[in-house]
């Protein structure tokens, strides 16, 4: 295996909130190989967006890292100074957000923003930057890039804005593209087109993609490997085929079971996961999923679950899973 382009090692992060702190990431380790598409799946509040934000060092002011490192092409990004971190963002690692309206400034045209995004590109004239932007807009499938360059963000449709956001992220040819729920705000027909586009761009540019989503269909369509998160931990990590056809962690199984798209016949009733997420201001001593888990024993409720390696590139955080 080659060196990972991005690796997160034993990262723990908490948010200061009134009356305590929320332990949103607990000992998370993940790595992304060059050109790999990694999916991070999980439900609201599992910490997946915080992890994505941490990868590009964009966590909020109330976030505090308590342990761990994040390496981008071998460099520890958290030890870099502010100026270097700013240079890293956009150039080495770029991000696409869920709502493309908030990713752009509403008062500047698309063209001027796409030129400004290339501010770290030294020795290139403004005209060349403008040409690069236009070419990238055409590449992501905008039918009239010249017109789009003169438009303000609100004048584009949601699908066009998300395409433009992807173009903006790829302008600097980053080694890693992080996409946080990139298709959630879109119609199913546009979602299919954005997935198709990301797949093509990955093949063309060879950048690694980290895609964060709660939509299991999107991950199945796009990813090589998947990490499933629950209550701030990665509970299962597996190649995409293995995860969907041989899920090992009870949470992964439950999550797959309640996706209506996986149930072919008309049922009327759907399986649900009973119970609720644990309180992350005081995470339980044992397994976080134990109160909702059908396999839970006393051991699960008292001892933290071990990380069990199941096979090449496969691991699960569970007492009950067999290696």
């Amino acid at each position: 295996m080659t060196d990972p382009v991005l690796s997160v090692e034993n990262l723990s992060l908490r948010y200061r909130v009134p009356g305590g702190s929320l332990q949103v990431l607990r000992d998370v380790s993940l790595s992304v190989q060059p050109g790999e598409v990694l999916g991070i799946a999980g439900e609201s509040g599992c910490g997946k967006s915080t992890l994505a934000a941490a990868m590009i060092d964009l966590t909020g002011a109330n976030a505090e890292r308590t342990a761990g490192t994040i390496r981008l092409s071998g460099r520890d990004i958290l030890s870099l100074g502010q100026a270097d971190r700013r240079r890293m963002r956009g150039r080495d690692v770029a991000m696409v957000f869920q709502d493309p309206m908030t990713a752009f400034s509403p008062v500047l045209t698309m063209g001027s923003q796409l030129v400004d995004f290339q501010c770290n590109l030294d020795g290139v004239s403004r005209r060349e930057k403008s040409d690069r932007a236009r070419a990238m807009l055409a590449r992501v499938g905008l039918s009239d890039p010249d017109l789009a360059m003169t438009r303000f963000p609100h004048e584009l449709s949601g699908g066009m804005r998300q395409r433009a956001a992807i173009a903006a992220a790829l302008l600097m040819r980053p080694a890693v593209l992080i996409a946080d729920e990139p298709t959630t705000a879109l119609d199913v027909t546009m979602e299919a087109q954005i997935i198709h586009l990301l797949r093509e761009l990955q093949a063309d540019y060879g950048c690694a993609i980290v895609i964060v989503t709660h939509h299991l269909g999107v991950i199945a369509e796009l990813c090589d490997r998947v990490a499933v998160m629950y209550a701030g931990q990665v509970v299962e990590e597996a190649p995409v085929d293995a995860l969907y056809h041989d899920p090992r962690h009870p949470y992964t199984r439950a999550l797959l079971a309640c996706d209506p798209a996986r149930i072919e016949e008309h049922t009327g009733r759907l399986p649900a996961i009973g119970g609720r997420l644990p309180d992350l201001t005081a995470p339980p001593p044992g397994c976080a999923f134990a109160p909702r888990c059908p396999l839970a024993s006393d051991r699960c409720r008292t001892l933290p679950p071990p990380r069990v390696t199941i096979g090449p590139g496969r691991a699960a955080l569970c007492h009950e899973v067999a290696p």
């Binding site: 439900e43 609201s44 449709s157 949601g158 699908g159 066009m160 119609d187 199913v188 027909t189 546009m190 979602e191 299919a192 087109q193 997935i195 198709h196 709660h214 939509h215 299991l216 269909g217 999107v218 991950i219 199945a220 369509e221 990813c223 995409v240 085929d241 969907y244 056809h245 439950a254 999550l255 797959l256 309640c258 996706d259 209506p260 798209a261 996986r262 149930i263 008309h266 049922t267 009327g268 009733r269 759907l270 399986p271 649900a272 996961i273």
Partner: protein, 324 residues
């Protein structure tokens, strides 16, 4: 049997822009000649992309959106004026798309679920007990009555929306994207709750959504809208097994499959839904249709019946019936 709700030939037109804007004053056709029936105890799924007119149709049914043609009958009676619509809103309920935003931030959950009685001038003997009863019905503990909307999770806000909708024991519940923004496990809980309540109270649902996986499980019948026109309607099973309209087929094919072994290599549908300001000539779908021919660009197809309860608006419904 008279259907619970019967919509015939509904059209909705809007004025474009102001009189100052170029082309101002032109009428834009939002919904065109929509006819649908909903039987008692039935669930109808209304599907289509954003901008297809799903929500406008729901608003028209409740009299919240003036129509320019067509009739709406509820339990066999014509609805014409505001008084009729006030009456229909007594026996129908709307679940809004953004459940948290649909609750007043200054009202407690208890006040919110009791409010429908005040709106319809009905006295409630013991408001606290009634609120607790409604909350129990949707699986929320009575303490929840003292909470404010910002203290609720997405799933809890949905449940409060359901409790509010059920307060007056409606015959019809219109649910606009009932599970949008919810996690899959919570989505399943809300859908199961809606199914239980349907069985218990004999409700009919009109479910508006673009989530096809969802309608496949909850709807008895489906109506597909495209640019304000009904393009296909029929029994859910039949539509998923053999969709006859190319748009329906593309929508079903566009849904990401949660199985990496069934990855799609090509796109079922390209481009975006055209602007309603520039409705394509002929069949509205011809600009994105994989089987469009010359006639589709010039002549608009009529809605034709294919079998019991199944109709489609397409010139060539037979040429692609192996889809799905």
């Amino acid at each position: 049997m008279t259907p619970l709700l019967s919509i015939a030939g509904i059209c909705v037109d809007l004025q474009s822009g102001g009189w100052l804007s170029p082309g101002g004053g032109a009428r834009i056709n939002i919904l065109s000649d929509i006819s649908l029936d909903l039987a008692g105890g039935e669930t109808l799924g209304l599907v289509g992309e954003s901008g297809s007119g799903k929500t406008t149709l729901a608003r028209a049914v409740l009299g919240l959106q003036p129509t320019s043609a067509g009739t709406i009958r509820f339990k066999g009676a014509d609805l014409c004026g505001p008084a009729d619509f006030h009456a229909i809103r007594r026996s129908t309920a709307l679940m809004f798309q953004d459940a948290a935003a649909s609750l007043s931030p200054r009202m407690t959950v208890g006040q919110a679920v009791i409010e429908p009685f005040a709106i319809h001038h009905e006295s409630v003997a013991d408001r606290r007990a009634k609120a607790a009863e409604l909350l129990a019905e949707v699986g929320l503990p009575p303490e929840m009555a003292a909470r404010f909307p910002h203290e609720l999770s997405g799933g809890q806000a949905r449940r409060v929306g359901v409790a509010r909708a059920l307060a007056l024991k409606p015959a019809l519940v219109i649910a606009d994207e009932p599970t949008a923004g919810l996690d899959v496990s919570v989505q399943a809980e809300i859908l199961n709750l809606m199914a239980d309540l349907k069985d218990r109270h004999g409700l009919s649902y009109l479910i508006i959504t673009h989530n096809l996986a969802l309608v496949r499980h909850v709807a008895d019948r489906i109506a597909v809208l495209y640019l304000g026109r009904l393009v296909e309607t029929g029994p859910t099973r039949q539509i998923f097994a053999a969709p006859r309209h190319p748009y329906t087929r593309s929508l079903i094919a566009a849904e990401p499959k949660p199985d990496p072994r069934r990855r799609r290599r090509d796109l079922a549908i390209k481009g975006e839904i055209p602007s309603i300001l520039r409705r394509p000539q002929g069949c509205e779908f011809h600009t994105r249709c994989p089987v469009a021919k010359d006639i589709c660009r010039s002549a608009a197809p009529a809605l034709q019946a294919l079998g019991p309860g199944h109709s489609v608006r397409c010139h060539f419904p037979e040429t692609h019936d192996k889809g799905g």
